[in-house]
């Protein structure tokens, strides 16, 4: 009762309207269903849902309301369809346990759908047994935070995404945990969004997937063990800081797949144990700094049509191949990186190797030309030609080198 009182006070203070009231919903209350509560509520009211099980679906929140659950009341959709649909501005959903969303291939049923709304807040929800989780459509200036989405997706074609933003802008997605859905977080035509502190793991397809979403910030997220890693495409001015891409392992998996990403910054990320750390295609003016690539199959695979990219101050540690390049270097620059493979020396002790480092191994170059040659991986012959190429480069493009390789691992404070 005390918290309830506090909530009401806060709400009254924040809106400045003194007529807002609180409607309680429970099995023994006057109002027994959420739909009923919404019906009798007027604008800016608070609906307080007591602990219990509510078998409801297609709940349309069409008024600016605050819907709060006490001790996670269960909203069970019984697989009949969509559960919450928010169509008004200034709606808050807080502390609900939503289960059993219906599956539809024509309507994309979701646990919570926000349609053409502004200033929405969706927090502290737990979603289970779902098709789509939180689907934000043509909405803006909202927050999605501290939610937990646990799916049971097995295949791509019959599963939905955890958090999906579509034609929305200025949305903050923070501290969510998403697992076992198709794409953990999916953005399409969603500009100026910030995706921070999320944990997206074990998803069938991508941990994070976005297209045509400009000016976004991705910070301190953790993408692990996703079917295909993270794919970002056709976007400009993206900032990816301090994320972790880990364990995305499989023949068609990437830590991070960049396609047509321009004018972006990728800084302080950790790429560990992915088949390919970053796969880059047609991306221009991107700076990669202070990233750590550790124990990947390929740390960076560059597929061409990339111009004016700068790779500096990164750590390349114990990758099978540090770099694979299948086009000309163009005007891309590698400088001041630390390469665990570097075998040069530093006579003047300034911390920078005196001999340039060539990150493309001959075998990596050959395997790019003739993919079948990869079958000779770990053969003695390959080790011998790699070594001889290192001593006297003949085949690998000679301008593709780091002229100032660091002698020691680059320390970087990710906080």
């Amino acid at each position: 009762m005390k918290t309830l009182f506090l909530y009401s006070i806060l709400f009254i203070l924040s809106t400045g309207i003194s007529v807002a009231k609180t409607i309680e919903t429970c099995a023994t209350c006057k109002v027994k269903t959420i739909k009923g509560a919404i019906e009798i509520a007027s604008e800016s009211d608070t609906i307080f849902i007591r602990k219990g099980i509510y078998k409801e679906f297609n709940i349309d929140v069409s008024k600016p309301l605050v819907v709060i659950g006490e001790h996670y009341p269960v909203i069970d959709g019984e697989l009949k369809g969509e559960i919450f649909r928010i169509t008004a501005d200034n709606v808050t959903l807080d502390g609900l346990f939503i289960i059993n969303v219906g599956t539809s291939y024509t309507e994309d049923f979701s646990a919570v759908r926000v349609v053409k709304s502004k200033n929405f807040v969706i927090k502290n929800l737990v979603l289970e047994n779902l098709f789509f989780g939180i689907y934000i459509e043509k909405s803006s200036f909202g927050k999605v935070f501290h939610n937990k989405i646990i799916g049971d997706a097995k295949e791509e074609f019959n599963s939905g995404n955890g958090i999906q933003l579509w034609y929305s802008h200025h949305v903050e997605v923070d501290k969510n945990i998403i697992t076992h859905v198709r794409d953990g977080i999916y953005l399409e035509f969603a500009d100026h969004c910030s995706i921070t502190n999320n944990i997206s793991t074990d998803n069938v397809r991508y941990g994070l997937h976005f297209m045509f979403s400009n000016d976004a910030t991705y910070e301190k997220n953790n993408f692990q063990n996703n079917g295909a890693g993270v794919a970002v495409m056709f976007s400009k001015r993206i900032e990816m800081y301090h994320n972790i891409f880990h364990g995305n392992w499989g023949t068609a998996s990437y830590g991070l797949l960049l396609k047509e990403i321009n004018d972006s910054k990728i800084k302080g990320n950790i790429f560990k144990e992915n088949t390919t750390g970053i796969n880059i295609e047609g991306s221009n003016r991107v700076t990669y700094t202070f990233n750590t690539f550790e124990k990947n199959g390929w740390a960076i695979k560059s597929r061409g049509a990339c111009y004016t990219n700068i790779f500096s101050d990164n750590n390349f540690l114990y990758n099978t191949f540090d770099l694979s390049y299948n086009s000309k270097l163009n005007d891309n620059v590698f400088k001041n990186n630390y390469w665990s493979d570097y075998s040069g020396y530093d006579l003047n002790k300034d911390g920078i190797g005196d001999v340039p480092h060539k990150p493309v191994k001959l075998f990596s170059y050959v395997a790019n030309r003739t993919p079948e040659a990869i079958i000779l991986l770990r053969s003695l012959f390959i080790d011998i030609i790699d070594f001889s190429e290192k001593v006297s480069p003949v085949f690998t493009p000679n301008n593709l080198e780091d002229t100032s390789p660091k002698m020691n691992r680059i320390a970087y404070d990710r906080n």
Partner: protein, 260 residues
């Protein structure tokens, strides 16, 4: 044959080189496990050692033993003994003692580090099986080379050359032909080419079992599709067996005809 096998076997078991070979694997196993304590990672490193060193050792031991015991062999030939049993007995003696050094030498450290509790047990077994096969194959071939060449220097030369060809040169030719014919579909070609050479076949069999196989991309997928099935495993083990049987048959043929 069994008597000669036994004699050769115990002769080798008592020899210093067997102990060195055994101690090498024992030490290698312990050092690898000590350094990273991860059984499955140790298996990857061991693979490199096994597919290169085991054939080399088989070749060297085989040809050395053959030439060293030549006088004794001639003495045996003067006795009323079957020629086949003399040579095959000696061959089996060498091959079995080498395989035992390998299996026991690697087995002890891995047992001590709990291979039975690890998921890598099957990979490790495959490693030992291919190691055993490679020993038998390369010892047989070196015996044949020894039989065919009276001149020790020539015999050694051929034996080393054969190892070099299988371990290094073959892959070079393979790579060159892949690059030359890169415009053609090469999946089947590379599949066959890698199955013909026992060293390549062993390498790929082990590689496909490890995590690293994800790096092989779609070529790997073609290989996985073949080797991943029972049929593929049977074919590859059959091929390895064939690589043992053919040289043994040749030894027998040569031994029966040779004029000592």
């Amino acid at each position: 044959m069994f008597k000669i096998l036994k004699y050769s076997f115990f002769d080798l078991i008592r020899s210093r080189w067997s102990y060195v070979y055994f101690a090498f694997f024992l030490l290698l196993g312990y050092v690898l496990l000590f350094l990273n304590n991860d059984v499955s990672k140790a298996v990857i490193t061991l693979m490199n050692v096994i597919i290169i060193l085991v054939p080399l050792m088989g070749t060297m031991f085989g040809v050395m033993y053959f030439y060293n015991s030549k006088e004794f062999t001639e003495l045996l030939l003067a006795q009323p003994l079957n020629r086949t049993s003399i040579f095959i007995g000696q061959y089996l003696g060498v091959a079995i003692s080498l395989s035992l050094s390998l299996i026991i030498g690697l087995g002890i450290p891995f047992l001590a580090y709990g291979i039975f509790k690890s998921e890598a047990i099957l990979d490790f077994l495959l490693l030992l099986v291919t190691g055993g096969f490679l020993t038998f194959i390369f010892t047989a071939i070196s015996f044949y080379i020894g039989l065919s060449n009276e001149n020790r220097i020539k015999g050694f030369g051929y034996a080393i050359l054969f190892w070099l060809f299988m371990a290094v040169i073959y892959d070079g030719l393979f790579l060159i032909s892949l690059i030359l014919f890169e415009e053609y579909p090469l999946d089947t070609f590379s599949l066959i080419a890698s199955m013909v050479n026992p060293i390549d076949l062993s390498r790929i069999l082990i590689l496909l079992k490890l995590d690293i196989s994800a790096l092989l991309g779609y070529t790997g997928a073609v290989f996985q599709k073949f080797f991943g099935t029972h049929w593929g495993l049977i074919v590859s083990l059959g091929l390895l067996t064939l690589w043992v049987i053919i040289p043994v048959f040749l030894i027998r043929k040569k031994a029966l005809k040779k004029d000592f």
